[in-house]
Structures are given as structure tokens and as C-alpha cells.
Assembly symmetry: C4
């Protein structure tokens, strides 16, 4: 990307993917009226893009705002912002490798946040879950009487610390947050975290589960993040979200 | 609202919300062919609005009738009325704070009405469930041979007593009734009571559940009843119900 | 109905309901590509109406054939017939009160046919299940090597004997058959047998279940079979099946 | 089929079925963005037909390529191929009776691949599962650090050996593969393997399960593979997939 036109095209593509991601996540039942998805600004790593406060299923290009890494919107007079925009800002600040963030209350994941059962990969497409999916307990950071929301940069930082280098962090009594190296990658992880949670719970009811080994998880995660594979499912989701 | 026009506009908005609520509840699978939703009359707190007897999914503006707090319709010659309209009349009489009522047989809630397991909030969007969701046992009020329906004002009063100051009452072998300070609020509570029931049952199968503390439930309920948050999901539901 | 025109109109209505029932049962996921629904002939109680062999979701008026109580079609050259038409013929022969029959493999009911857990009513809309839902074990009638289908009038008679005076009979390793006093009534029972099976299984996983008493079941069944109530849901289903 | 025209018509029909199968499997939720289906070449048993690498739900006639029994495409410059095409090539090489292959990650089947619970037929439409559904453990063939994919003809051969003469093989931590004597037959088996897995898991939670006897399974499998029966559901699926 050596020219201004290339840069512009690349930025346009990110905005398009972000709008599509909002609709895809709704269609895939990862989000309902709540939840949000963001992308790091393609031209300025100290900023990120996210909708104004709106149900993801109805987000349009004109809803996308620019935010700073303190979680505040740049020039957005009169726009309502998501209360939990600090989930995104704190992760972008802590994780230079992260280019997109999905926060959701996807249903099958909730039980793993409120019990002691660790979420572990049961199948290759969920290999990215790796050896350990951390759980963020907001009581440890802010006491026993919060509304569980990440309402400040301080809480965002505490949550990002729990996330560490993982691809996903569960949030007790609240939901989960998945990150990725692109919008498609973060969406993929959010969708398949939900798939794994449902299938792991089902499998555990049958008997002891033969999980992926750490090496299998790593190898499978690499395969499924390859453009050849990720693009196949992303293109399908995108075309459906536009229909 | 100082003028007659303002009052009229406000009343129109309630009727519109009520028609939308019928369709939203069907679309969200809270009601099937059965169930009903009402709103306190915006101009006369001694009356309420509800459809004639009709499947909620097909209710239109012309189906909406005016009822008194005795459960009888005002001037509705030839219209069939819901057998259980007394659920609504008794609650409006007992609870001046209630502006809307949803009665449903939403599926995941049924098991909590027929077992001894208390329904408790597993996540912030269900914080309104608070510390205790009461169960109405019609046998205690009317013996062991009823058809379980709230067929009279007397039974409605017994059920409203079980509801007390709670946001939701489960009805053993029958369904549940949620109340709210607006149509959107009562619909929100009916939808998320169903969500909580499903997720609580799933979580309990994994292991002991870390529920919201009473303080967390209270704080989360306040956050989610704020117009900013409630409107986001209500507008989405409404636009979908009209499409 | 004193005139020929009245009789004709009544017969037309039954055929219309039967076509609608095929589509409704598919839409409600009671049948998939398999299953069938019939109505006793409105003008001749010794005959019944049912589609030729075809997936229920695509049945049209021209598919409806007339059958005798021996299970054979009257004048249907070149038409393929359902292998299991004897389910219907044997029940019409044994049960003069039955005006319609639905045979399906509706999923939540299957587990109750292959385990020792009796299906019992957990809620009022399923009160028709009453005190006892029989299970037909084809091995008792035809040994351990059948294909489980009701392929002959003799097997139909054995199954009808297991049904007895009940509203529904489960068929081990196969499905279930519901009967009613009208097409709408039999469809209602087939749909809510499935609903009850799912909710009873869910409730049993939570803890001991407080089922309807026999008197409650009886009273609730009467209420829900009343035209006022049954028509409400039937009209909804019918209008959806036509859209 | 004695003329060139007959042969051509037959080949056309297989291609049409294959395109339909891709869309049917997506609509039936057997595949999501992943999974693939193939058919043995109708004119050359040493070749098979399958889409280029693409989400099954969007496969069109122009995506269908010809492959050899080594898993490589014949004249397909610039086309991306499924990484796991060797599942298909190895099975066609080992099983002359197989005319179509479906590989999927259908969800209810996954738990049976990662636990010690054998998949067994609970109902007649799933009788084809027979007495024993094998599980392929890739660790036995390729050690503990693979990405679980069948990336080579050697792995395909190991998997085909695990399949043996069975209709379906489960693949631990990955998915399953169903085979059949026609495209419709393999799709039927893939769909009803998923149905059986879900219902068997549900039944096992209720109590000990009364499975089909081996003789019942055999008889039921024959009945359901008969053109009369298979065509009924296939025609429905096909017409829906085209709408």
C-alpha cells in the first residue's frame, strides 16, 4: 500500500467489514439488541471505529464513529455512546496485536462464566480457545455491588488484564469478549466460542470429554485463521447479511 | 403534557406500542397463539387497554378494547374477550406503579413453576429478577380441580397477592406474568425472564451457579431500565415487528 | 345442515382444513418430510381423507384421496399411498369419536417412547394428556425384527388397541399418533404433545415435577378444546400456513 | 441407458443433485460455512465430482470440479480446493458401493465423537446406523499434534479404514462423514445421523434407552432407502433449496 488511494481503499474495506460484522453477529445470534463490535482505525493505531449506541442488527455506515484509546468519541456531538466502550479502548491499548473486538452476551457462553467449568476446545474449528480461557470477575476489581458493566477505562483495564494474551475472556454474569487480527477473525472467534460452549456442555452431559490437546488446538487454530479458510465462511456470512 | 393535543399524542403512542408488543412477543417466542399484553389507559388510570380475544401475532389497532379494573370491557358488543383478562385488571388495581402487563406461557419458564428451583438472575440483563421470584399456586386459592386459568377477579386478586411487589410471578403449571412501568419495560422483562430461565437451567447442569448478588441485581436492573438502554432494544424489536 | 349445499360446504371446509393441517404441521416442526394427517369423510363415516404419499409440507388439494376403513384408497389409479395408512384406518374403525388423526415423528416425544418415563401434563394447554399416555411396543405385536412401520390393517388394529380411549399413543422407536374430534383438535394435540415432552424433560432435569392433577388435566382439556380457544390458535396457524 | 443421450441425461441429473445437496445440507444445518459433499462421477467410477473450495450454501453448478481418486482436481487451474478432499477420494477408492459422500461438523454428532458413548439408532428413520458407528481417532494415525484435518491421501486411507463397511464414521474432535448409494441417500444419512444424535442424547438424560434391535435397524434401513420413501423427502428438500 504505497499510495494514498491504497490506504483509502483499505480503510473503506474495514468500515464495510465493521458494518457487515454488526449484522452478521445479529444474524448468527451472538448479539441480540445488546453487544458491540469495533475495529482498530486502519490509518491510526491510536484510534478505533465503532457504532454509536444502537442495536447491532440495525447499524449502518453513518453510525460508525471514531474513538480514542481513552474510550471517548472524537467529534461526535449529540451521539449516544455505548456505556461499555471502555472494553474496546482498554483492549486496543493493551494488545497491539488486536485489530478487532467483539463484546456479546452470547447465550451458551454465559453458563461457563457463572460456574467453575473451564471452557475448552472440543473440536478443531474452536482450537483457538487453546489451553485456557480466562474469566473476568468484576467483584475482584470493583466490589460486590456493580451493575457488572465496564463503565470506565479503569474497569476496562482490569478486564484487559484478565484477558491477557488470550483470544477470549468470559465476564462473569455478563457475557464475553473476543479479539482478533481482523474484523472477520474476531467475528469468527465470537461465533465459534458460542458453538464450542454449546457442544462442550452437551458432551459433558454424556460423559468425560476428550478435548483437543494443546498441540492440536494450536495447529487447528492456525489452519482456521488462514485466509483460505476464514474467507470462505466470512464471504458467506457477508452475502447473507446483505440479503 | 399541558395540552389536549399532547395528551392525545401520548395516548396514540401507547396504543401503537401495545399493538407492536403483541407482535414482538410472538416474534420473540414469548407467546404462541396464547398469551396477552395490556397497557394501563394513558388518560384514565382506572382503565386499561388490551386486544379482544385473538392470537397476539395477528393483533391490530382495531382489536384494542378498553377495560375497567373489574376486568370487564367497556362498550364492546359482540367482541370475544380473553378468559384471563382478570390477570390484568387485578394487577392494575393492586399495583399503581404498573403501567403494562404481559401474560405468557414462555417455555423455559414453565419448569421453574413446576419444580422447587427458584428462578434467580444469572446475568446483568436479567437483574430485574432480584432476590426472589414468587410462584403462584392456584391450588392454594381455588383447590385441586381448576383448569388453572385466572377466570375471575377473585382469582386475579389471589394471583396479584402472590406477585406482591415483584416484577414477575410464575404460575404453576400455566405460565408467568411480567409487569413494567411501560409497555417496552414489561415486554423487556418478559423476554429476559425467558432468557434467564433457559440459561439458569443450562448453568445448573454444569455445576453450582454464581448468581448476581442482590446489590448487583439492583444496580443492573436500574441500568437496563434506563431509557438509553431500553430504547435501543425496543426500537429494534419494533422495526422488526413491522417488517 | 339440512340441504345438499350445506353438506357440500361442510365437506369443502374439511378438505381445506386437511390441506392446511399438512402445512401447519410442517411449519410447527411436528412433521418433517415424513408423517401424515387424515380426516374422517364428512359425508361417509366409513371412509376417510388423506393425501397420496407426499411430504406433508407440499400437500395440495389435488393430493387428497378417499380411503376405506380397510386402509385402501378408493379409485386412485397410479397414486402412491403412504405405507402406514393403516394407522388411520384402524383408528377410525375402532374409535367412532375420532374425526382426525395425526401421525408424526415429532422429536421431543421420541425419548418418551424409548425410555420408561411416562409422558404427563406439566401445563394446562397440555391437560388433554390426562392421567396416562400409552406406549405401543410393536415387538409385542409382531416380534423383534419389524421395520417398526404399521404396514397392515392387523398392525393398525394392534396399535389402535394400545391407543384405547387415549388422545395420543406413543410408538416405541418410531413416533406418535394423536387423535381429535376435528382436524384442528388433532393438530392442536399433536403440537402440544411435542411442547409437553420438551418441557417435561427440561423440568425433570431441574428436580421432581409437580404435574397437573387428573382433575386439573380434565378441566384444562375441556377449556382448551372449546371453540373459542381452539379457533384462536387454529386461525393463526392457518393464516401463516397460507402466507 | 443404452444411448449417449441417456448417459448425458443421467450425468446432468447427478450434477443437479450435487448442487442441490450443497444447499440442502446448509438449509438443514448439517453444514455451516464448512463441510462438503461429493458424488462419484456418473460416467467414470475412477473420478468424482465436488465443488471448488466454497461455503456449501452458495455452491453453484460452475463450482463443480472433477477429481481423481488421488484427491487431486483434473484441469482446474486457479481454483482453490478443499483441504480435506482426501476424505472423498479415499472413500471412493476403498468402497465401490459408495456413490456419494457428505463430510460435516453437524453439531449434535460432535459429543459422540469426544466421549465413549456409542451412537446407536433410537428410531426407525435412523435404522441405517445399524449395530456400530465407528469413531476415527486421528491421533492413532498421525500422532497428538495434527490440526485434525484429513490433509493427505494417507490420512484419507486411515479414515476410510475406520469407516470400514459402515454408513457413517465419526471423527473425534472434528465431525463426521456419511456415505450412500446416491447423493440423496448420503444426504439423508447425514441429516438423520444428526437427528439421532440429538434424540439419543435427550433420551439418555431421561433414563436407560430401548434402542432398535439389529434386525429392526436392518429392516428399517431397507424401508427408508427405498425410492418411494427417499424420494418423498428428497423432493421436498430440493424444492425448498431452490426457493
Amino acid at each position: 500500500m504505497s499510495t494514498a488511494n491504497d490506504l483509502l481503499a483499505s480503510a473503506q474495506a474495514v468500515v464495510e467489514d465493521l458494518v457487515a460484522a454488526n449484522r452478521i453477529l445479529y444474524r448468527q445470534k451472538v448479539v441480540d439488541g445488546f453487544g458491540h463490535v469495533s475495529a482498530r482505525h486502519p490509518l491510526d493505531p491510536e484510534r478505533f471505529l465503532m457504532s454509536q449506541s444502537k442495536a447491532p442488527g440495525s447499524v449502518e455506515r453513518s453510525d460508525i464513529l471514531v474513538y480514542g484509546l481513552d474510550g471517548e468519541a472524537i467529534e461526535a456531538p449529540g451521539r449516544r455512546l455505548y456505556l461499555e466502550r471502555y472494553i474496546h479502548s482498554a483492549i486496543y491499548a493493551a494488545r497491539p496485536d488486536v485489530m478487532a473486538v467483539v463484546h456479546s452476551h452470547s447465550p451458551a457462553v454465559i453458563p461457563f462464566g457463572v460456574t467453575d467449568v473451564p471452557l475448552r476446545p472440543v473440536m478443531h474449528v474452536c482450537g483457538f480457545l487453546g489451553e485456557h480461557v480466562p474469566v473476568f470477575e468484576i467483584r475482584a476489581a470493583a466490589g460486590p455491588a456493580t451493575d457488572l458493566l465496564i463503565r470506565s477505562q479503569a474497569l476496562g483495564i482490569a478486564m484487559a488484564r484478565a484477558l491477557g494474551t488470550a483470544p477470549v475472556v468470559l465476564m462473569r454474569g455478563h457475557g464475553s469478549t473476543a479479539v482478533g487480527t481482523s474484523v472477520a477473525h474476531a467475528v469468527y472467534r465470537a461465533v465459534y466460542t458460542e458453538v464450542n460452549a454449546r457442544l462442550q456442555a452437551d458432551a459433558m452431559r454424556l460423559g468425560p470429554v476428550n478435548f483437543l490437546t494443546p498441540d492440536e488446538a494450536l495447529a487447528a487454530a492456525e489452519t482456521n485463521a488462514a485466509p483460505n479458510v476464514l474467507t470462505r465462511i466470512w464471504d458467506l456470512w457477508k452475502s447473507e447479511a446483505q440479503s
